[in-house]
């Protein structure tokens, strides 16, 4: 089950990078949601929407090289963004042939605490590890954040490169969330201006925002009819 879901979704996952002359620096993960070249990611990693590109990595799945020295990166632009709920819709700016499976975008409606979920992303992309990592978790809680965003907490450790990757409901093989980051309640509680300086505490709980926020952006873009 986990294996089938991982294989189904990993080729839809891409590295999000920023073009800096002839080099690219890694920002996070993004995933394909539409055959017209649209991807969803977390909005906070594309706050600066300039010179964004995505890199598909060849996924032959068998002991692939950890670091790719030279990559082909396609330019993307941010077409819709919702910083309140930490989602952004990107579009690949060049002609590219994409096929997507039928019906892979889910909803959080049928998700319950304890459900098995899978999270995909380039966990250590910042450290030049250009390989997708799959991790398995259960839904720890479903909460609303201080600004009323619906969040799914899950018990695997999202690393910095996981942000923007998909959270997949294993039982029915649908994407139900967009990974936002590690859950660090202490930082919220502190709430001071220099909260960035507090070293993150190693919780192994991460959080994703509900896919509905991403679907709303797709609807605004006219990609979904209902």
């Amino acid at each position: 089950m986990l294996q089938a879901v991982t294989h189904k979704f990993s080729s839809g996952c891409m590295m999000l990078v920023r073009d800096q002359e002839d080099q690219v620096s890694f920002l996070g993960s993004a995933f394909i949601v539409h055959h017209g070249g649209y991807l969803l990611t977390a909005s906070h990693i594309v706050e600066d929407p300039s010179a964004l590109r995505v890199v598909p990595t060849a996924s032959d799945d068998r002991f692939s090289k950890m670091t790719i020295d030279r990559v082909a990166a396609m330019p993307v632009s941010v077409v819709q963004i919702d910083p309140q709920h930490d989602v952004a819709l990107l579009k690949i700016e060049q002609e590219v042939e994409i096929a997507v499976p039928d019906d892979f975008l889910g909803s959080t409606e049928n998700v319950r605490t304890g459900a098995s979920v899978l999270n995909l992303g380039y966990a250590f992309g910042h450290e030049r590890m250009h390989v997708i990592l799959a991790s398995n978790a259960v839904v720890s809680a479903m909460i609303r954040s201080p600004n009323e965003s619906r969040l799914i907490l899950f018990d695997s450790m999202a690393h910095d490169g996981n942000r923007g990757g998909p959270l997949i409901h294993v039982a029915d093989g649908h994407i139900i969330g967009i990974v936002s980051g590690r859950f660090e309640p202490a930082e919220v509680v502190r709430g001071s201006k220099d909260w960035d300086r507090v070293p993150p505490r190693d919780t192994n709980i991460s959080f994703a925002v509900a896919i509905e926020y991403g679907l709303a952006l797709m609807r605004q873009e006219g990609l979904l009819t209902n």
Partner: protein, 556 residues
């Protein structure tokens, strides 16, 4: 079912011709072939009879083992789909939902799949095997046990596995791959676009003609049986006029049903049919040897399971007899010849079911119902024959359709039960006839699941006319033999279907992923570099409390 609210995928638009939706080659060549066959049969009945009778004999003799092997291979294949990894593939794709309730679905499956034969052979077949058993001393308890087991074999898992295979293949290729709902579509993984060419047309024409002759000849032979029943009950004379009137009546109801469509016509009739049949069965269960029937049901199923491998592969190799050709091989040929029709109908009503649900529903539920039915009727007859005053075996050998009425006479209220039996017989005919017409309509319209009404009327009436013409001119048996003779080529087709469906499912599953082709990429390449991480947890607006609306707060 109206066109716009239909959840079933419609076939691609094609130019309307006189407000019809027809596939020109399939429609006209099928109609022509049917006409030609009927005329030839009427003119040279004896020759046609001889030709197909001998052909059927040769096929049974030389290819009997092949039929036996095919049936078992298909059964194993279908069970492998049930437990295998394709079980959760849904006909019509992930989002599809069943068009009919489960109860209505079962009713339609059962009415189309077994129908009339069960009514007559439920009594007759165990009797035949009891008095002439190939594997036991005739007339002994052992013969009774073996007789029930053979009947279970012939009406049990094997025929339903054939229907399940054909139905599943058609449903999968039509609803999940978007091909027309037509027999040709099943060969897409093998023939590719070739299914739209002459080979595809030929396959569809064969299926149409076989379905027409299957349904029309059973209708013709069936009304003779109904007439025999009426004669036995009410002394109605057995004349061609009565039989023609019966054909006209049944055809009229079937035409009404098929014009009304699946929802209003066929579904309701099937439900009604199953309810009346259930009433008849419960009547026999209560009026007959109730305890004996319950005992027998448990024992028969146990014996069937115990002897399953032995009997389903038995080829009378060492007995060196010809018993099997007249029974098992005949049945296998018959089920296979009917499979395009029943399979197509099952596919049409199974939109939105998963493969696992489909196999459970098509393989096990009807089999179990059949077992209960056959036990109720067959064991009641056996009880009378073994422990009562007998006489059923003799009646069966004289006239099969009358045997049901002879059995009912042994119980109280026989006038009422016989009248119910006649109604069941007629509704079973109607449900076979209307589903047959619908299947032909769909094929000859090139796969339109909701063909125009005028075409439905045309085929439903043609069915009655063919049956009537053959009844008047003779040749019903000849054409029925011809229909069964198509069992051999179809058996080969079935094996191809296993391969094709497996391949199709495999491609479907592996095709369900993201694909991205970078072959066209001609942009620059970039060097990757290590990047500073951005610790930003708290900065996200998610964690910023909404400003409290003080005015609103004060109001409340």
């Amino acid at each position: 079912m109206s066109n716009d609210s239909s959840p079933t995928p419609e076939s691609p638009e094609r130019p309307a011709w006189l407000h019809l939706d027809i596939h020109p080659y399939v429609f006209f060549i099928s109609a022509g072939t049917i006409l030609l066959f009927v005329v030839l049969t009427l003119l040279f009945e004896q020759h046609v009879d001889n030709l197909f009778g001998r052909l059927q004999g040769l096929i049974s003799h030389y290819a009997g083992w092949f039929f036996v092997a095919t049936m078992n291979i298909v059964l194993i294949f279908v069970i492998s789909l049930l437990i295998g990894r394709f079980g959760d593939v849904r006909l019509g794709g992930e989002g599809a939902r069943p068009e009919f309730s489960t109860a209505a679905w079962f009713a339609m499956l059962f009415s189309a799949g077994m129908g009339i034969g069960l009514l007559f052979f439920g009594v007759a077949e165990p009797m035949f095997h009891f008095v002439a058993s190939p594997l036991a001393e005739p007339g002994t308890p052992d013969a009774a046990r073996v007789a029930m087991d053979f009947t279970f074999l012939h009406w049990g898992l094997h025929p339903w596995s054939i229907y399940a295979l054909v139905g599943l293949s058609l449903g999968f290729f039509a609803f999940n791959k978007g091909l027309p709902l037509s027999i040709r579509s099943v060969f897409y993984p093998i023939l590719g676009e070739g299914i739209y060419g002459p080979i595809g047309n030929l396959i569809d024409i064969m299926a149409t003609v076989a379905t027409m002759f299957g349904v029309a000849t059973s209708l013709g032979l069936g009304v003779q049986q109904v007439n025999a029943g009426l004669d036995h009950l009410f002394g109605t004379p057995q004349t061609t006029t009565v039989q023609l009137l019966l054909i006209a009546g049944i055809t009229a109801i079937a035409t009404w049903s098929v014009v009304k469509g699946l929802d209003a016509g066929i579904k309701r009739l099937s439900e009604l049919n199953v309810i009346i049949a259930a009433i008849l069965m419960f009547f026999v269960l209560l009026a007959g040897p109730t305890l004996f029937i319950f005992n027998a049901l448990v024992e028969n199923i146990g014996y069937y399971l115990q002897k399953f491998a032995q009997l389903s592969t038995w080829n009378e190799t060492y007995e060196n007899t010809e018993w099997q050709n007249g029974w098992t091989v005949f049945y296998w040929g018959w089920w296979i010849a009917w499979s395009p029709f029943v399979g197509m109908f099952i596919a049409r009503v199974s939109y939105g079911r998963t493969i696992r649900e489909f196999v459970k529903g098509v393989l096990f539920v009807p089999t179990l119902v059949t077992f209960v039915w056959v036990t109720t009727f067959g064991d009641s007859a056996l009880h009378i024959e073994m422990f009562g005053d007998g006489g059923i075996a003799k009646a069966v050998q004289e006239n099969i359709p009358v045997s049901l009425f002879v059995l009912l006479e042994k119980f109280p209220l026989s006038q009422v039960s016989a009248a119910i039996a006649i109604v069941v017989v007629v509704t079973f005919f109607v449900t076979s006839s209307d589903s047959g017409s619908l299947v032909i309509d769909i094929i000859t319209s090139g796969g339109n699941t909701d063909p125009p009404k005028i075409q439905r009327i045309f085929w439903a009436v043609t069915e009655g006319v063919v049956a009537a013409a053959l009844l008047l001119g003779g040749g019903l048996v000849a054409l029925q033999t011809a229909a069964i003779a198509t069992g051999l080529p179809f058996a080969i087709v079935l094996l191809g279907m296993c391969y094709s469906l497996r391949k199709g499912l495999h491609e479907y599953r592996s095709g369900q992923t993201f694909k991205l082709s970078m072959d066209d990429y001609d942009g620059p390449e970039f060097r990757t570099r290590a990047t500073r991480r951005m610790p930003t947890f708290g900065r996200r607006q998610i964690w910023v409390r909404k400003p409290i609306d003080l005015k609103k707060e004060r109001r409340s």
